[in-house]
Each structure stands twice: as structure tokens, then as C-alpha cells.
Symmetry: C2
Subunit: 345 residues, 2 copies
């Protein structure tokens, strides 16, 4: 297991997740130093006398996520002209909520691989992942309470309840091809976009900006979150494992009903519908089924149309920033939106 | 699955858990009406458009726990002369944190039975239990934020982190007979006593009592929590399944290192130590092993000595109330302490 010393080193460079991403150099020039501070707070606040906690939490955090959500909090605060320190602790808190969700997700999805490395539930076990997730989630609330803003607490506790609601909703739609496009959008809005929304909103709250600025940044976060998840659902049927860092076809094997599936199923001939039902509802998956699924999606334009929807949300995200002056940070947020849609992983 | 209408009925009578307990009529005469209001808040606040949430949450809540923790919050507030309404919502919040912990515990322990009925993870699955637990936990924080007291938030978020820490610590000591008595006490203090402590403390906080009263009630809660868990660990080797409502020997089969085990192992002859190692460390359990374990515990006085420790904590709990006037509610809290130690389930 990973000793804490290694962890701290790994985590210090974990910002590489974003640093190595194409086109994000402008935003990192602006919030990179803050992000380093966030990484230090994360390492510091996941410590516990119970050694398994920093070992397991350090594993998932050091695996180097893209840190998109804390970057949203940091850049949103900057866009609002905030010059204090509260955004750093709160960005770490947002990352903790996200990490707790990931730990529980990997247990629920029975995943073995995330970001190219074995998941915590695969290395330790489901039990440890569940309980360390609970710890990180509680720790997130302790950080918020220490910050002391009831408005931040209200925003992030409501977001957390919505995320859990979205995850349960997704569970209820799994293996169910009667799931509508509208339901799918509700699921991803709750399970993914809500935390992006709250992350951006918190930046405006610490800057004490008027309600209109706060609402604009919340909308910005929500739209970029929708775009991000739509692309995630496309990548599960198209990315190479090496770049995505998770196994392509996970959603397919788990019977998740994502937009590419909904569109391909709706447009499919009766024999194709039978195929989708056997694979996703009855979960009888045979050799070559994933390739056939990808082929059907391509033939019916399901992947390109999902990407189109993502671009639509990306445009809405950009328009949400119209009321802010055209500063370097606003331009750089445009890069972040482009990355959410164009990223190869 | 349970329709909401049935749920509400079941939950309305769920206070029966305590109402039917011997010797608790005095405390129920005082806080019974408040407890009914808590039950209504619980049912109301577990609602969600995602039907699986109230179905699953309702199952565990309607199963009729003893509601000891919310009763502690309610009676603590009354002992402090509180006459407002905040204690009702906060008692429901304490019960939500407890229920979320139970849902995750049952997944971690792979339990099939709790309070005499099948567990949620047995009826639905682990996935739903994990995610609905997360929802209830988030909802608990939403209730606290609506209450608006940072002091309450600080107390309960710190308690939540400590509980998770204690659960991970317990996981790390499982199957490890080198676990010391001191470590065991740390584990139960964190995983169980901390929420009893916070539950009682919150009652003093809403009543806005001086620090000494708050500290006394926190100590009262912590001590009754220790006594409660010690007895729980004895009952797992002695109660009849019909009264305990869970399978006797669960701790034994899971390899949990509780005080009765630590004492019997320490006092055992070499052949007995081999037995304990095979059963609890190597987890090779044979027919008749549970009976042998119980026999060894009895022979070495491990169960009676654990009960003695529980009585010691019970006395400390009573002494914590010395500074309060001898009102009916203070007398009734004595019944609650007696129940924690003398209860048959």
C-alpha cells in the first residue's frame, strides 16, 4: 500500500491531469498556483490516525483526476475578482465530494479500472471504499463548516442530495430500454452537472457577487457539466482504453442506458431492437456485441448526434458568461469548455 | 416493494420500538409527542421523485429502530428547559445520519437480517443501499443547514467524520486477534458513542445552555453510547435471535474483534488460542464453533466482565447529570441508561 510520503509527492504532481491537457495552458497560468494549494489542502485534510484512510483516499486522489471541478471553483472566484483565500479550501471540499462519489460509484459499477489504474475497490475491497467515501464526504462538510458560510453549505448540501438522487435514478434506469431521452437528461443533470454547477456557484458566493453573477456562473457550471457527461458517454463507445484510462464498453457491459444507446435503439430496425434488448436488458452479452453496438451507433449517427448535443450545451455555457468583462480568465474559461467537448479522454 | 402509503402508516407506529421497551414509559410520557413529530419529519424528508429512495429508506426506517438517538436529542433539550421546535428537526437529522450508517454497515457486514426483518441490501441490492445511504446523509446536512446553527453543523459533521473513521478502524481490526482492549474502546467510542454524544449535545446547543451543561450532556451521551455498544457486543453471543432481531453469532462469523473475544482470547490456554485463531483470523469456522466460543467466554467470565464495563459506563452517564435539577425528565433519563444496559435486544 502507498505510504503517505509517496502520496504527497504523487499528489503534488497530480495537477498534471490538467496540466498535460491540450489547450489548457492559459487557465493553468491563472489558477495553477491556487490549484497547487488545493492539492496540498486535499492531502492535508485526508489524513487520519486510521492509516487505511490516507492510503486508500491517497490512491484515488493521486491517480490524478483532471481536477475540473476545483478548477471551476478557482476560476469562477477569479472571474468575480475575488482576492481572498476561501476559494482554495472550498475547491478542495468540492474535490472531496467528487472523490467520495467516485469511490462509491466504482463499488456500484463494479469497476476495476479508473484513469488507467486499478480502482480502490479492486485494490482494497468494497467495504473500505464505501467507508472511506463516507469519511471524505463528512470531511468535506467539516471544511465547509470551518469556512462558515451557510450559503455555501446550502449550495453544496443540496448538490450532494441531488447527486445521490441522480445516482439512484440511474440505477433505476439501468437495463431499461424504455428510459426516455428526458429521463436520461434528468439523470446526468443530477449525477454530474449539479456538482459542476455548485462548484462554479461557490466561486461567486465567496466573492460576494450579486445574484445575477451567481446565477450566470451556476448556469455556466451546469452547462459545462452536461457537455462533459455527454462526451463521457460517447467516449465509452469510442475512446481507446489507453487514452480514456478506463475500459471502453463499461457502460455497455453494465447495461447503462445513455444517450447513444437511446438514439441507436430508437432508430433501429426490429432485429436491432432485439439485439439491444438481449445485450442491455437480458444482459446476455456475446463476443463481438460491443463492436456491433458501436457499428449500429455509427450507422444511426447516435455518437455524432450526442456530440452535437454536447456542443449545444458548450455554446450555452459560453453565453452564460456574456455579462462578464472580456478578461483573460473569461477567455481561459472558454478553453475549459472546449476541453470538456474536444477531450480525447 | 413497499408503497409510500403503507410506509407512512408503518412509520407512524414505529416508535413502538421504544414504546414496547420495559421501563421506558416515563420518558415516553415526556417526549412521546415530540417523537411522533420526529417520525413525521423523517417520513416527509425521505421523499424523492426517485421512487426507490422512499421505498428503500422507508423499509429500514419503518422496521422500527429503537429511536434511542433522537430520543436523546429530544430529552436533552427538555432537560435544558428548551421550549422551541428546533430539536424535532435536528432529532430527525440525527436519525438520518444513523440510518445512513446502518445502510452502509449492512453492506459492509454482508448482513441479511436486522431487527428481525431482511436488510435493505438483501431485499434490493448493495448498490441501492450505498446510494440511498448517501442520499439520507446529504439530506441530514440539508436539515442542519435549514436549522442554520453553525455550532450544530460543527458538532454533527465532526461526529460523522469520526463515525466513518471508527468504521474504517473496525475494518482494519477485523480478523486481527492482536487488537488491544484500548483499540477496541477507540473503535466503539468512534463508531457508536460519538453519535450518542452529539445527539445529546445538540439538545443543549438548541437550548443555548452554558458550556458546562453542554459538556455534561455530551459526556452523558458518550457514556450511554459506550454502555450500549458493549451490551450489543455481549448480545451477539447470548441473545435469542427472536428478541435480538438479528442472527446471534454475526460478529463471530465476520471475525469482529469485540471485548468478549479479546478477554476470552487473552485468558485462554494455548489450545483455546489456536481455536480463536482458526475461527476468527483464518475464518475457517466449523459446526459447533459458535457454541464453543460462547462456552469459552462464559468459562472465562468474558461476557459478565463486558457487562460490568457497560455498568461502569452507565454509572458515569448518571453522574454526568449531577449538575441538573432532579426533575422528572432527569429521572426518566436514568431509565434510558438502565435500558441501554439491561435490554434483552
Amino acid at each position: 500500500m502507498t505510504p503517505v510520503a509517496t502520496l504527497q509527492h504523487d499528489t503534488a504532481v497530480a495537477g498534471a491531469g490538467l496540466a498535460s491537457a491540450p489547450g489548457l495552458d492559459r487557465i493553468l497560468r491563472i489558477v495553477g498556483a491556487d490549484l497547487e494549494r488545493v492539492n496540498r489542502v486535499v492531502v492535508d485534510r485526508m489524513q487520519s490516525p486510521v492509516a487505511l484512510i490516507p492510503e486508500l483516499a491517497g490512491h484515488i486522489i493521486a491517480a490524478g483526476g483532471k481536477r475540473l471541478r476545483p478548477v471551476l471553483t478557482l476560476s469562477s472566484a477569479r472571474l468575480c475578482g475575488y482576492e481572498g483565500d476561501r476559494h482554495v479550501e472550498l475547491a478542495a471540499c468540492v474535490e472531496f465530494i467528487h472523490t467520495a462519489t467516485l469511490l462509491h460509484d466504482d463499488v456500484v459499477d463494479e469497476s476495476g479500472l479508473r484513469r488507467g489504474v486499478p480502482t480502490a475497490n479492486a485494490l482494497w475491497d468494497n467495504k473500505a471504499s464505501i467507508l472511506v467515501g463516507d469519511f471524505l464526504f463528512s470531511r468535506a462538510f467539516e471544511i465547509m463548516v470551518a469556512d462558515g458560510s451557510l450559503k455555501v453549505l446550502r449550495t453544496l448540501s443540496a448538490a450532494s442530495a441531488t447527486i445521490a438522487e441522480g445516482e439512484v435514478h440511474q440505477l433505476a434506469t439501468t437495463n431499461d430500454l424504455s428510459t426516455t431521452e428526458e429521463e436520461y437528461l434528468e439523470v446526468i443533470s443530477a449525477k454530474t452537472a449539479k456538482l459542476f454547477e455548485a462548484a462554479a456557484q461557490v466561486g461567486a458566493i465567496v466573492a460576494d457577487r450579486p445574484d445575477t453573477a451567481e446565477r450566470s456562473l451556476a448556469a455556466f457550471g451546469a452547462h459545462i457539466g452536461m457537455a462533459f457527461q455527454l462526451i463521457d458517454d460517447v467516449l465509452d463507445y469510442s475512446a481507446h482504453q489507453a487514452t480514456l484510462g478506463k475500459a471502453v464498453g463499461d457502460d455497455f457491459r453494465e447495461g447503462k442506458i445513455t444517450l447513444p444507446v437511446i438514439l441507436a435503439y430508437r432508430r433501429g430496425a426490429p432485429a436491432e431492437k432485439d439485439f439491444w434488448r438481449r445485450a442491455l436488458e437480458d444482459q446476455r452479452i456475446e463476443d463481438g456485441d460491443l463492436d456491433r453496438a458501436i457499428d449500429l451507433m455509427r450507422r444511426h449517427g447516435a455518437l455524432t448526434e450526442t456530440i452535437e448535443r454536447a456542443r449545444h450545451y458548450a455554446s450555452s455555457a459560453m453565453r452564460s458568461l456574456d455579462g462578464f468583462p472580456r478578461t483573460p480568465i473569461r477567455e481561459a474559461l472558454g478553453d475549459l469548455v472546449a476541453f470538456a467537448v474536444e477531450r480525447p479522454y
